[in-house]
């Protein structure tokens, strides 16, 4: 018994460490070329598997779609990459290095399984703090870095402050501090607002919310604001009592999904990149053109994980496979089959939460509302930003899916 309690404590601590490290540290230490967070991930998963008895009991409802994205997709499309590389495909000229890197990001979604157990534990009323506090800490760091420049005059021209990295420096819109992991602010604000909607705005959540918004202000990142607007707007709608009874529920979900698909089509058929004045928009329009051109090479299964555009166009030298337009990138790398496989998880989460909302109450209703609002917002945010295919993007997905799972399985 003691050993079981001790084992559970160790497993919980390892999970806390793995989640916090993933959500805070943006410039990871590497051991033998492998990021430390990978070791922490596996330590947390092994410890969770060791104390769960029986391991396969009470299989989560979302286990299959989660495993598809976390394991099947990287495994299958890594093999596609191997095949393309074997064929001498120029999209895989880097020799699978990028394929390994990209495939490794998907496995962070496996945190879903220990998170479900952690959040389900009835002893932990505030279980969501496991990921909420690291996000708050990250935002506090971002604000401190900004204040360091504003008040003391520190200039972080290397775009890195200790273990924090991102976009730090002067910009036309103002001095910006955008840390790589800050996208977690979207589910964090969703969780706080879902609590506020059910009760009232208390001092603690108000302070935390202010900090998260302050960090978003200094990040000068429009993608985050789009996400937060969607979160707040969706929560106003779905927490309203008439919504549970309303006939327009299905129509509203269809409208949101249509807007998402429409925005992606608009990018493809939009104006030419050179005719748009704003560089960030122009860059995305150009990416769409280049990626759609790349899709034509392998229209069914794509060019494989880690594929780079054969004509050399890239957004980043360190990750030339990564683009702002995540879904276009997935279409190029995984083909329509792989894109549907990846997007199916957030869509299934949204659909199940949407259907169950009318029947849920109390804490479970809040969790479902949070999961639904955050997941839909992240679908939009990820569509024009490279936030999904990395460790923290998968953590955000795992957090939303785990909250939905706990809400639906109670």
């Amino acid at each position: 018994m003691t050993r079981t309690i001790g084992g559970r404590w160790v497993a919980s601590m390892l999970l806390v460490l793995a989640v916090a490290y993933n959500a805070i540290v943006t410039d990871d230490v590497k051991l033998a070329g492998v990021p430390l967070k990978t070791f922490l991930l596996f330590a947390a998963l092994i410890a969770w598997g060791a104390v769960r008895r029986p391991l396969l009991a009470d299989r989560p409802r979302l286990a299959v779609p989660v495993l598809v994205v976390a394991v099947v997709v990287p495994a299958v499309w890594f093999l596609v990459a191997v095949w393309r590389e074997h064929q001498g495909d120029p999209a895989q000229h880097a020799g699978l290095t990028h394929a390994v890197t990209e495939a490794s990001h998907f496995m962070y979604l496996l945190l879903f399984f220990p998170l479900v157990d952690f959040l389900s534990d009835s002893d932990r009323r505030y279980g969501e703090r496991i990921w909420l506090w690291p996000v708050v800490l990250t935002c506090a760091f971002a604000v401190l870095v900004w204040l360091g420049w504003q008040l003391v005059g520190f200039d972080y021209a290397a775009h890195q402050v200790r273990f924090l990295s991102g976009t730090i420096g002067e910009a036309p819109s103002g001095y910006r501090v955008q840390l790589v992991t800050q996208v977690m602010v979207v589910p964090a604000v969703a969780a706080l607002l879902a609590t506020v909607a059910a009760d009232r705005l208390r001092r603690g959540p108000a302070l935390v919310l202010s900090l998260l918004l302050a960090a978003t202000v200094v990040s000068h990142t429009r993608g985050y604001w789009v996400g937060l607007l969607l979160v707040a707007g969706l929560l106003i709608v779905i927490t309203n009592p008439w919504f549970a009874r309303g006939r327009l529920r299905g129509a509203l979900l269809a409208a949101v999904v249509t807007a998402l698909v429409g925005s992606q089509v608009a990018v493809a058929i939009g104006p030419s990149p050179s005719s748009v004045k704003q560089i960030s928009i122009s860059q995305r329009l150009q990416e769409a053109t280049e990626l759609l051109h790349g899709v034509r090479h392998h229209v069914v299964l794509g060019s494989g994980l880690g594929a780079t555009l054969p004509d050399g166009y890239a957004r980043s030298s360190t990750d030339p496979w990564s683009f702002e337009l995540t879904y276009y990138q997935l279409l190029f790398e995984l083909g329509p089959v792989g894109l549907i496989a990846v997007v199916s998880l957030p869509l299934i989460v949204c659909w199940r939460c949407w259907r169950a909302l009318g029947a849920l109450s109390g804490r479970r209703a809040q969790q479902a509302q949070m999961a639904l609002a955050a997941m839909l917002a992240l679908l939009f945010v990820d569509s024009t930003n490279p936030y999904l295919i990395n460790s923290v993007g998968m953590l955000a997905l795992a957090v939303c899916a785990a909250s939905a799972e706990v809400a639906l399985s109670g």
Partner: protein, 310 residues
């Protein structure tokens, strides 16, 4: 309960608080969405840089025409045995648009790069130099196709050379100019005749020691850049902390008319100090002399140079 407490209680009730939160987020979003962004008509420009590009020059994308407004900024990113040469359109209205990069395969020891125009056709080309341990070799590549146009062993050692350029030194054709920095800090220009420096040495010019300007410039880091000119002799730029203590980087040009002993042009920049990863390229805008600086955030700043008064 007094009225103010009642109002606070009402405002913090769930649905009201949620609506207030939405209003605050909408207001802050609005501020962000109307904030100035990097556009094609205002600097700085954000470029989709493939790597940590070293700017090598501003010129034409097709062939160089004397007097024409340069419209393309060139940058080189060394990686493994390949150089990725990027080009960005600087001509309005499409400032910052990427022109498809080209790849040049070189020796991994290559470390000095310059933009040049090859042969009478003035083909935009990349001049690449490798140090003595790799054979002190100079190679020229076509920037459009990546094909090697010429190769030669330099007549002078390239180990202590910090910058190279091509310039018509004495009006008799294109020559190779090396900026040599000795360990003691002494800087000199070595001019070799011929585009690849295979001819005799034309000149060796000592550049005023930076110590001679210690009264002008406070201690700071110094970087040497070279202004490439299609015709005439090049200028050298000292890049350092502003003499006024402005916490800004300033550029001061040592011009050939001053025999490389006095400064002729200067440019205060918007860039703060401590930018060790900045790269510079010189060009000429419409009726003015410009320097372009790029940092690792992929911002490019176009900075106007002005003559030093008096």
């Amino acid at each position: 309960m007094n009225p103010s407490a009642r109002a606070l209680a009402a405002a913090t009730r769930g649905p009201v608080a949620l609506a207030l939160a939405f209003a605050v987020i909408a207001l802050l979003s609005l501020i962000e969405f109307v904030a100035p962004r990097v556009t094609s008509s205002s600097g700085p420009v954000v470029l989709p840089v493939i790597g940590r590009a070293q700017l090598i020059g501003v010129g034409s994308n097709t062939s160089f025409l004397a007097g024409a407004t340069p419209d393309v900024l060139y940058g080189v990113t060394p990686a493994h045995r390949k150089l990725t040469v990027e080009r960005w359109d600087l001509g309005l209205p499409s400032v910052g648009r990427t022109i498809r990069p080209s790849v040049v395969t070189v020796s991994s020891a290559a470390r000095l790069f310059a933009l040049t125009y090859w042969s009478r056709a003035r083909i935009p080309a990349l001049l690449v130099a490798t140090p003595a341990r790799a054979g002190s070799r100079l190679q020229v590549f076509d920037l459009r196709s990546g094909a090697r146009l010429a190769s030669a062993v330099s007549a002078a050692a390239l180990d202590d050379v910090s910058a190279i350029t091509e310039s018509d030194w004495n009006g008799a054709g294109v020559d190779l100019v090396l900026v040599r920095q000795a360990r003691g800090g002494k800087t000199s220009l070595v001019v070799l005749s011929g585009a690849l420096g295979t001819g005799p040495r034309l000149a060796t010019v000592s550049v005023a020691d930076r110590a001679e300007h210690a009264s002008v410039f406070p201690p700071g880091y110094w970087r040497l850049a070279i202004r490439q000119q299609a015709q005439g002799r090049p200028s050298l730029a000292w890049i350092t902390r502003g003499p006024t203590g402005s916490r800004r980087t300033e550029l001061h040009l040592m011009v050939p008319s001053g025999r490389y002993s006095t400064f002729g042009e200067q440019a205060p920049t918007v860039l703060s100090d401590h930018h060790p990863d900045l790269h510079y390229a010189f060009g000429t805008g419409v009726g003015r002399s410009l320097v372009y600086a790029i940092d690792s955030r992929h911002f490019v700043y176009a900075i106007s140079l002005a003559p030093i008064p008096g």
